[in-house]
């Protein structure tokens, strides 16, 4: 074939090459978030950043200042991420909790498809197990829950402690649970983080929107019209407080999926979350998501106060929160609560094919075993190893006996208790019986 004929075929050859490249241009690396949140292994997360920045971050842990860093996990490195101190009451400069914003500086940057995650110091939990175990229970109850995994954190190649990796509740989370439409930047739903400032029990705060803005901080659509952000919230809380008793479920049901809410409440109650919806200091540790259709849903977070006390009643503080108090007076919602508790009992007690112990007991033991070496080497672990082992034993006892105790209380409530009576009163003996049955 002559050179001239080859030249004549040039444009066609070029088109052919272009077609091949077009087909190959969009190939993306297939990385796995599931591997990052795989809680069956202890993850190693490495951060490289300026030593001066790390010292400053610890010295000014109360501030939300970001610092640039490089992140490496399992051979995957992402450069120029933003890192800052995080946390509420657990925020400190000795073992700072960290938020990692992958796209803080480079807008399109992602890490395994994630835009952000947190490294929780679990400063108030001597086992690092309460929250991951509770989130797993939420997940098993088919409620949206963040994925978590234990990790060893290295900063500039120095081991700085045992942490828990937390999935961020953000648009990526919303898309995973509720779909891409809900996660749209401009027209998606509204995600609020509840900010505890003082004990609040969902009382109506008046028609002005400022009090609600002080409590519910938008995480999406954060500069939308104030009326768009808060008028539906104000209306929901007004309805919760002011609707007639016989219309409560229907009226509030226009704003909130009450059956889902009762399920959420049941998980917190079963896991004895002391700082949740009916926390000792009012509502706390939740996000509120308002869908595009106007319905809202509670999302759990920061459950390191769970598994608090084995013998807490399933009705403890239920009368403090307006929504809970009124919902429990509606027979169908009360039944939904008890039904969800029975579901929790069944899931917690579910044996494995080769292990007759219940799921919750196995889970707590598995997690404590997994995290033990990380805690043993933790240079700034705020508890002694004996504290850790002792508390871990208590959590095992909780996992062994909580099901029977709650089961007894549910039966008491189903038989009909006088208003204000504590179903736990008649069930304390069950804990002892369960103890004798435990190995």
């Amino acid at each position: 074939m002559s050179a001239r004929r080859w030249i004549g075929r040039g444009p066609r050859l070029l088109l052919g090459v272009m077609a091949v490249w077009c087909a190959s241009a969009g190939i993306a690396l297939a990385q796995d978030q599931d591997a990052f949140f795989n809680d069956a292994v202890l993850q190693d997360v490495r951060i490289v950043m300026s030593s001066r920045d790390w010292q400053t971050l610890k010295a000014r842990a109360a501030e939300n200042t970001y610092y640039p860093a490089d992140l490496t996990w399992n051979g995957v490195t992402v450069r120029n991420v933003g890192i800052r101190s995080r946390g509420g009451s657990t925020r400190n400069g000795i073992k700072p909790g960290l938020r990692v914003d992958v796209n803080r500086y480079l807008t399109d940057q992602e890490f395994l498809g994630l835009k952000a995650f947190s490294l929780d110091n679990m400063f108030s939990d001597s086992t690092l197990v309460r929250e991951p175990a509770t989130m797993k229970m939420f997940e098993r109850m088919q409620l949206p829950a963040v994925r978590e995994a234990h990790a060893r954190l290295f900063v500039n190649n120095e081991y700085v402690g045992a942490y828990v990796i937390l999935e961020a509740i953000d648009r990526t989370f919303i898309e995973r649970h509720f779909g891409a439409e809900e996660a749209q930047v401009e027209r998606g739903g509204y995600l609020f983080e509840y900010e505890w400032a003082a004990p609040y029990f969902l009382d109506y705060l008046g028609s002005g929107l400022e009090p609600y803005a002080a409590l519910f901080k938008p995480q999406t659509r954060a500069t939308d019209s104030i009326v768009n952000l808060y008028a539906p919230l104000e209306e929901m809380i007004r309805t919760i407080n002011e609707s007639a008793d016989d219309d409560f479920a229907a009226a509030v049901g226009k704003h909130l999926d009450l059956n889902l809410f009762m399920k959420y409440l049941a998980v917190e109650s079963f896991m004895d979350e002391s700082d949740g919806i009916v926390g000792a200091e009012g509502m706390n540790n939740f996000d509120l998501y308002r869908f595009r259709n106007g319905l809202s849903q509670f999302l759990p977070k920061d459950k390191d106060g769970s598994l608090a006390s084995l013998d807490d009643s399933i009705t403890v503080r239920l009368d403090t929160n307006v929504l809970v108090r009124r919902a429990m007076k509606v027979p169908a919602l009360r039944e939904a609560y008890l039904s969800a508790l029975r579901q929790c009992i069944a899931l917690a007690g579910e044996p494995a094919p080769d292990d007759q112990r219940g799921w919750l007991e196995r889970e707590v033991e598995r997690q404590t075993t997994l995290v033990t070496p990380a805690i043993a080497d933790d240079p700034v672990f705020p508890y002694s190893i004996d504290d850790f082992l002792g508390t871990a034993d208590l959590l095992i006892v909780f996992a062994q006996r909580r099901g029977a105790f709650v089961d007894c209380q549910v039966a008491q409530m189903e038989q009909g208790l006088e208003e204000g009576a504590d179903p736990a009163a008649a069930c304390r003996g069950v804990i002892e019986l369960a103890s004798r049955r435990s190995p």
């Binding site: 030249i7 970001y66 954060a222 104030i226």
Partner: protein
């Protein structure tokens, strides 16, 4: 180090270039009519304008050539610009294509350690005329271009798709999808750009393309040109895959070339223009500030509600081998009924400007894209041009009542600006192939909202663009 895909792409480009540098390669491969015997430098309109305007400029240039321009007499016969086809004598259709690859070298300040190679454009299309009074164009991108790939804006695969009817010299009517008549650089075709990327003023604040209808024409012996139209939306530059942008845009542009009718006047090519545009943005996210290559956001968009107003001024002057151009654009977005009591919030203000200049080292006369006197491997080295641009995109401080409660923080809403200096060298190998190298130096006022906080918000991005078109 270049990866295998990059190497493969480079090899293909070399092959394409070699193909095009061969003697009369394209003319022999595309059944083109024989090259014109008239030795005329082919001019390109510096702006998109319309097909009709472009043809008028072409005629004007040919007339100059016939009057004995020394540059023209030196120019050798060249193949025609586009393959074309005339099914009947009254209809002519030109076939067009453009292929661009951008290579960005490592930018350590951003944590980008590897050279990145990406397609910028793979566009094909036709344009033509029918019965002398009707011109039309249809062009389509074969995949996402640079801006769509980086979600800088929401670019439809369909580009210019319009029909233009000449009623009189002073009145033409254009309908379809095309660029809103706002901004000098934004309405300049990519083959005529002096830099790898348009200025931030053009890409962020000018509207871009949309569907609409427009009247345009020239008055007073071509010294005044006007364009005015209505568009269903306010341009694809202002929206992304996740944001809607504005609607119902009214746009007008008035350009004056006061010395255009004076032959050989030093300022004969001087043009100055003013443009205004209004549109509605009802409870939508506004504009955002992204760096030149889209690495970081230095000012995040906020919700706006009400009217969007754009005002732009621009000017350009070309003389011999040099050119100077400048542009200034402001945008203001209303925020009505957005406060706690349904009260209005202050508008969100943005402004941008640039000053740019070019100089052809090889002496060609500047008129949009340079046409080499002597193509590479055809007795010359092509045309080489130096280019420089200084620019700024600034977002004014936006207030928002939620800041009192920490959403977002006042720091996140405070004003911020990207200052950019671009130095470039353009090498036109021949009419079809252009190689552009740019050094883009940026610095952001607030380093914390820049992609390079550790470097104080300052970073340098070297980019290379290889463009083939016909």
């Amino acid at each position: 180090m270049l990866d295998s895909r990059t190497r493969r792409r480079a090899i293909c480009w070399i092959a394409v270039t070699a193909l095009l540098l061969g003697p009369d390669a394209l003319a022999q491969t595309t059944s083109l009519p024989p090259p014109p015997q008239e030795a005329a430098p082919e001019s390109h309109p510096p702006t998109k304008a319309t097909a009709t305007d472009a043809k008028k400029k072409k005629k004007k240039t040919k007339k100059k050539g016939a009057s004995g321009d020394s540059e023209t007499s030196e120019t050798k016969a060249k193949p025609p610009k586009h393959p074309s086809w005339s099914p009947v004598p009254a209809i002519k259709i030109d076939f067009k294509a453009r292929l661009e690859t951008e290579i960005r070298s490592a930018t350590p300040a951003l944590g980008l350690d590897d050279t990145q190679v990406a397609w910028q454009d793979r566009r094909v299309g036709i344009e033509g005329t029918a019965f002398k009074r009707v011109s039309f164009e249809i062009s389509r991108e074969l995949s996402d271009d640079f801006e769509a790939a980086h979600d800088l804006s929401d670019k439809s695969a369909w580009k210019d798709t319009y029909v233009d009817v000449r009623v009189t010299r002073a009145l033409n009517l254009e309908a379809g999808r095309f660029k809103l008549p706002f901004g000098r650089e934004e309405t300049t075709g990519e083959t005529n750009l002096d830099f790898v990327h348009r200025s931030l003023a053009a890409r962020v604040l000018s509207p871009g393309r949309d569907v609409g209808i427009m009247a345009h024409g020239r008055l007073f012996d071509r010294r005044v040109r006007y364009e005015a139209g209505y568009f269903t939306r306010d341009g694809d530059n202002g929206r992304t895959s996740q944001t809607q942008g504005g609607e119902d845009a009214l746009v007008a542009r008035l350009e004056v070339a006061p010395f255009a009718s004076l032959a050989n006047h030093a300022f004969g090519s001087l043009e100055a223009a003013v443009a205004v545009a209004t549109s509605q943005v009802d409870n939508r996210l506004g504009l955002r500030g992204r760096t030149v290559l889209g690495d970081g956001i230095f000012f995040d968009r906020v919700y706006v509600n009400g009217q969007r107003r754009r005002i732009g001024f621009d000017a350009a002057w070309e003389k011999g081998p040099g050119s100077v151009s400048a542009e200034y654009i402001t945008v203001s977005d209303d925020r009505t009924d957005m406060g706690f009591d349904g009260d209005d919030l202050p508008s969100v203000g943005t402004k941008a400007w640039y000053v740019a200049g070019t100089w052809a080292l090889t002496g060609e006369r500047k008129h949009g894209r340079l046409e080499p006197r002597n193509d590479l491997l055809r007795g010359g080295i092509g045309a080489v041009e130096l280019a420089a641009r200084v620019e700024e995109l600034r977002f004014e401080t936006a207030t928002y009542p939620g800041s009192a409660f920490g959403f977002p923080t006042e720091a996140a809403l405070s004003g911020n600006a990207d200052h950019v200096v671009t130095l470039g060298i353009n090498w036109y190998l021949n009419h079809y192939v252009k190689l552009q190298g740019n050094l883009v130096r940026e610095w952001i006022d607030d380093p914390e909202r820049s992609p390079a906080p550790a470097a104080g918000g300052r970073f340098l991005s070297p980019v290379l663009l290889l463009q083939f078109h016909f």
